[in-house]
């Protein structure tokens, strides 16, 4: 079914996709003329395939559950923010805070993602085929961030248990983020993610793994005089 954002109001389209009847079999939708609108496909909760033809604005596919959403264009701030499950595939570039606070699901970005990609993520997997901007993975708590290109300044600042895999150069590491040994289990997970993102030209072995040094987890009594 084709949904035209030039003819239908955004709220009408989102309500239709959010309120889909479980018994209906036609679960393939195409949204045309998105024209940079915000919150397109926010809050979907069913197994649907939605193809958005064009560039979208902020918070596209936010809070997604189960749905498989493809954007044939660029996305604004906060694509798939707080995603719980499902898959979001951006064929262009993503603006800042892609996948922010996402708990689950897979976000694939074919182009670059700008600053704060995966900020405070809580369990999702994010695969970026290009590069990411500064402060990516900031305070991220769980999940995996895979970057086939380079990472900007302060990568993984104050992160918790997220694994960050970078193929290219890292401009600088944030506080408490260090390079870590790539174990078999990490290679296995990375291989699965590369496969899910349909990436064939990068081998898991060519990535470096970064994670938390865990020095910020507990208060150090030696620092008491600073407070």
């Amino acid at each position: 079914m084709i949904l035209d954002l030039k003819k239908l109001k955004l709220r009408k389209i989102n309500e239709q996709l959010q309120g889909i009847d479980r018994k209906i079999n036609d679960r393939n939708f195409t949204i045309i003329n998105p024209e940079g609108n915000h919150a397109v496909c926010a809050g979907l909760t069913e197994e649907l395939n939605v193809n958005i033809k064009g560039h979208v604005g902020y918070y596209c596919a936010g809070m997604n559950q189960k749905a498989n959403i493809t954007i044939e264009g660029n996305v604004g701030t906060g694509v798939a923010e707080n995603m719980m499950s499902g898959k979001v595939h951006v064929k262009g570039n993503a603006s800042q805070s892609a996948g922010a606070t996402a708990h689950g699901g897979l976000l694939v970005i074919d182009g670059d993602a700008s600053s704060r990609c995966g900020i405070s993520m809580k369990g999702a997997d994010i695969v970026v085929k290009g590069s990411v901007g500064h402060m990516s993975g900031f305070m991220s708590q769980a999940g995996n961030l895979v970057v086939c290109g380079d990472a900007g300044e302060a990568l993984g600042d104050s992160l918790y248990e997220t694994n960050i895999y970078i193929k290219g150069k890292v401009k600088s590491l944030g506080a408490d983020c260090v390079e870590k040994k790539m174990d078999k289990k990490h290679l296995k997970k990375l291989n699965i993610l590369l496969k899910e993102a349909n990436i064939k030209n990068h081998k898991a072995e060519s990535f470096k793994r970064y994670g938390s040094a865990k020095k910020l987890y507990n208060f150090k009594i030696d620092n008491i005089s600073n407070y």
């Binding site: 560039h55 660029n74 604004g76 570039n93 901007g133 500064h134």
Partner: protein
């Protein structure tokens, strides 16, 4: 939050449509700034005459015409609602002195050989209509929709700010060291008409340009001297430049085609532009100055 937009034509193809393109961009940025709006349009310049963009406020146009005609020679006037574009060979020093002394209710919005500048409180759609922006042609233009944060909703608090000949600046963000910087710039001879932080940034740019620094070099120094959150578009007779602070909380997106460069806070501002779906679209990187035509 505010909305900023700009369009620079690389070829002559869309010169007649510049106003139409810019007005669509401003209309689409209403959601980011419903309090006031403004724009500057640059047209091919006539070196022999100056153009003064004036806001006559509540003054009757005919009275204004009568008063100004007594003192200023070779006048041509174009009225757009409460704004008037005055064309005259009279040099800025004399003209500004005359206005300030004889017509204190009139405010000077900007001047130069090429720039025409308009701004007013109200919804962007109404402001754009009031000044008939769609009818404008030109080589490049800059616009702003304001959601007022640090100073009141007034004409003086609206953007663009023009603090030098054919110069203007629009801003999304807020500056934290503008009071200090205003004091320093006043010592260097700059004058200010508002308490607005953006006017200080515009003054900073004008001051640097008057010392023969390029626009690019000026904005690179600005990264060090201007403290706060910002995306700026700074316009001159030849073109414009854009810069975001290094934290880059304030958005910007650029679309480039073979005929134009468009810049806006959000893509939706440029969704109506011709060939935009085939444009190269990218975000300006934090702390990097991008300039065209300068």
């Amino acid at each position: 939050m505010c909305g900023i937009v700009g369009i620079y034509l690389k070829t002559k193809k869309f010169e007649k449509n510049l106003g139409k393109m810019l007005s669509g961009m401003l209309n689409n940025m209403e959601s980011r700034g419903p309090d006031s709006a403004g724009f500057a349009v640059y047209k091919n310049s006539d070196k022999k005459e100056y153009k003064y963009s004036l806001c006559i406020n509540n003054l009757d146009f005919n009275k204004f015409k009568k008063d100004i005609s007594k003192k200023i020679r070779n006048l041509k006037l174009n009225q757009y609602s409460d704004h008037v574009i005055v064309r005259t060979p009279e040099i800025p020093k004399k003209f500004i002195k005359f206005i300030n002394k004889e017509l204190p209710e009139v405010s000077i919005v900007g001047y130069g050989h090429s720039i025409e500048i308009f701004k007013q409180v109200g919804n962007p759609k109404d402001v754009v209509k009031k000044f008939n922006l769609e009818s404008f042609s030109g080589t490049h233009g800059i616009g702003h929709t304001r959601m007022a944060t640090e100073s009141a909703i007034t004409t003086e608090g609206s953007h663009p700010y023009s603090t030098g000949e054919d110069e203007c600046l629009v801003h999304n963000g807020s500056l934290s060291n503008h009071n200090n910087l205003r004091r320093e710039l006043k010592k260097k001879g700059n004058t200010f008409t508002s308490e607005n932080d953006t006017e200080v940034a515009a003054g900073y740019v004008s001051n640097s340009l008057s010392n023969n620094n390029s626009l690019k070099k000026t904005l690179v120094s600005g990264l060090k001297d201007l403290d706060g959150f910002y995306t700026f578009i700074a316009g001159t007779r030849k073109g414009f430049a854009v810069v975001r602070d290094e934290i880059a909380c304030k958005p910007a997106v650029i679309a480039e085609t073979k005929n134009y460069i468009a810049i806006a806070s959000e893509f939706q501002a440029m969704a109506h532009l011709p060939d935009v779906n085939d444009a190269k679209i990218f975000e300006p990187e934090p702390g990097v100055v991008y300039s065209w035509g300068n």
